[in-house]
């Protein structure tokens, strides 16, 4: 197996075709909430794509469908040439809450994927390198309740990456972190992505984060969730958060989402 750090494309392409998904509301089984209304999306192998949109637009639902945790009402989901039917170690998922197993130490949390697949004996040597990769060697025997939010999220990343997933699904993984930790973690995720070539799908609320990190930004609208527009971010990497091109793109996206500020001024009676 390839040691982490060597540049190689581990990712595989992802194809979502006309997927719909609705949920029955808890208090009334007759009425259904349409979370996704015909979403199609293609992601190339090794690409980093962000999903941006208001809450309730079905970003997380789409991620759960790709992970295989839920199944769609209609439509098809493909990873490489395989249809997605059930969860698999090939598609890692990291939530906003790190969801570390509190009864396991940092090391055992990172090992969990190897234990779950029954390959701990052959792959044990990789655990060290993954702990180094996320800079947590000295916390190996700490329990999750001792970790800060940023550290816990790094463990969650290492835990998802140890299975060498072909696709990494990130559901607002940095959403709960403070601004500084968040920017540092963005660089760390980018470093991992560049080193390993994993296909990444990132759900985020943060437009700066989306521009800073992704190859393409997918804007979604809510009820039912649809893809409104796809924006290709063709800024050279490594990106500068304060470059003119970065700020211009940011302005355009805000304009598209009607958050540039003009509407608020208009709404105030003179």
């Amino acid at each position: 197996m390839v040691a982490p750090g060597s540049p190689i494309v581990e990712g595989s392409s992802l194809r979502v075709v006309e997927v719909t998904k609705s949920f029955s509301s808890p208090d009334n089984s007759e009425s259904r909430t349409h979370a996704l209304g015909g979403v199609s999306l293609s992601v190339a192998a090794g690409e980093l794509v962000s999903l941006v949109g208001p809450s309730g637009c079905g970003k997380s639902t789409l991620l759960r469908l790709i992970a295989g945790l839920d199944s769609p009402d209609s439509g098809e989901l493909w990873v490489g040439s395989e249809a997605i039917a059930a969860p698999s170690a090939e598609r890692g998922l990291v939530f906003q809450d790190p969801n570390l197993f509190p009864w396991l130490t940092v090391r055992r949390n990172i090992e969990a994927g190897l234990v779950a697949r029954g390959v701990l004996r052959e792959k044990r040597h990789e655990v060290e390198s993954f702990m180094r990769l996320v800079g947590l060697e000295s916390f190996a025997s700490a329990y999750p309740h001792h970790l800060s939010g940023g550290m816990a999220q790094r463990v969650a990343l290492a835990r998802a990456l140890i299975n060498h997933p072909k696709v990494l699904l990130l559901d607002e993984p940095l959403g709960a972190l403070d601004a500084f930790t968040r920017m540092r973690m963005q660089d760390e995720v980018l470093r991992l992505w560049e080193a390993r070539g994993t296909t990444m799908l990132l759900v985020t609320h943060d437009i700066d984060e989306a521009i800073y990190m992704s190859d393409r930004i997918v804007l979604m609208t809510s009820r039912p969730g649809r893809i409104e527009r796809t924006i290709t971010v063709d800024l050279p990497r490594p990106r500068q958060r304060n470059s003119t091109d970065f700020l211009r793109l940011r302005g355009e996206i805000l304009e598209l989402l009607h958050f540039a500020g003009s509407t608020i001024r208009e709404a105030v009676p003179a």
Binding site: A89, L93, F95, N99, A116, P144, A160
Partner: protein, 347 residues
């Protein structure tokens, strides 16, 4: 910020320093963790008082009945005085003294009050209320039978509890995890479970080959219900996101049950284990009183039959030590297994 903290502290510590000034000066060279004089002398003084009261009160009693209590009090006094002189050189002993001596001093004082009420003023009718000296004497005279009874109780309790917990974990995990097991198991559990185990005594006596077996079965039944209930709730309430994460890590169902659901349910399971332990004590004593002819429960009713109330109290003392030791052991096991919860659990 530093000065503010010092200023805030001063008024609080002032009264204490004034009260035990001499003690502070005497031992201050041994570091900050000195004991105040009040704590240090609490146990020796209480024991001394109890000893003096004992000598005054027991003048009219036959010396055979009171000698062992005298020896006991003298031993406590000697040990506590020795501890007073050793403690400046042993930090663990100092911590233990600071924590335990006020409690022990009150305990010895209560023994003293008990002796005054019984032997001294004869306020309570004999033979129902013997003096502490009498109880201690019964404890020593009957030590062989008491030891034997405790051993039998331990065997019965241990086998019943182990059997009950083993069955309860299997049923609890199955009902908590599998939908079909839940559908068929829950109604049975809801109907059978709340019946107190002791209500099955008549049936148990009829269907089991020996009284010991029936007692084991009753204790197991008493343990089974709370442990099953709490295991079910723990397993069924496993956070869905833990299971989701495990699935995306490539976990199969065995991993989900044994490595996610069960560890997540452990805090609940331990609550069940404690509740089960309480009901198992109760069932043990009832079973021994009505059927099994050995053990502490049997001993109590046997001693009562001979109106030897000193022995009854002696058995109660043994039970207190016996049951609280088992409880403490379970707490130790809990603290070890739930070390990952440290700082979260408060009981």
């Amino acid at each position: 910020m530093n000065t503010a903290a010092v200023q805030a502290k001063q008024p609080v510590s002032m009264p204490m320093t004034a009260e035990s000034a001499s003690a502070e000066i005497a031992v201050s060279r041994f570091g900050s963790s000195v004991l105040c004089l009040r704590k240090l002398l609490s146990l020796p003084l209480a024991t001394l008082m109890a000893l003096v009261v004992h000598f005054v009160v027991s003048k009219n009693e036959p010396p055979v009945d009171t000698r062992s209590y005298t020896v006991f009090l003298v031993a406590v006094l000697a040990l506590s005085v020795t501890a007073v002189f050793v403690q400046p050189f042993a930090a663990p002993l100092r911590r233990w003294i600071a924590h335990m001596w006020p409690i022990l001093a009150v305990f010895v004082s209560l023994l003293c009050v008990w002796e005054v009420i019984t032997s001294g003023l004869r306020l309570l009718p004999l033979p129902y209320f013997p003096s502490p000296a009498g109880v201690l004497q019964s404890l020593i005279n009957d030590r062989k039978v008491l030891f034997d009874s405790t051993w039998h109780s331990l065997l019965l309790l241990g086998s019943g509890y182990a059997l009950g917990v083993a069955i309860a974990l299997v049923t609890g995990i199955c009902i908590g995890w599998f939908r079909h097991a839940r559908y068929w198991g829950m109604p049975l559990l809801k109907v059978i479970g709340p019946i107190p185990a002791t209500a099955w005594v008549p049936l148990a006596m009829v269907i089991s080959p020996s009284k010991a077996y029936s007692a084991v079965g009753l204790i197991a039944l008493a343990v089974w219900f709370p442990v099953t209930m709490l295991t079910i709730s723990g397993i069924a309430n496993t956070r869905a996101s833990y299971l989701d994460v495990a699935r995306t890590l490539g976990a199969r169902e065995t991993y989900l049950i044994f490595r996610v659901a069960i560890p997540a349910a452990l805090p609940n399971i331990f609550i069940g284990l404690f509740m089960g332990l309480g009901t198992s004590f109760l069932t043990l004593i009832v079973a021994e009183t009505v059927g099994v002819e050995s053990g502490l429960g049997w001993y109590v009713s046997w001693a009562q039959g001979w109106a030897e109330y000193g022995k009854v109290y002696a058995a109660l003392v043994i039970m207190a030590v016996f049951f609280s030791t088992i409880m403490t052991l379970l707490f130790k096991v809990r603290d070890r297994m739930l070390v990952w919860q440290k700082g979260v659990i408060k009981w």
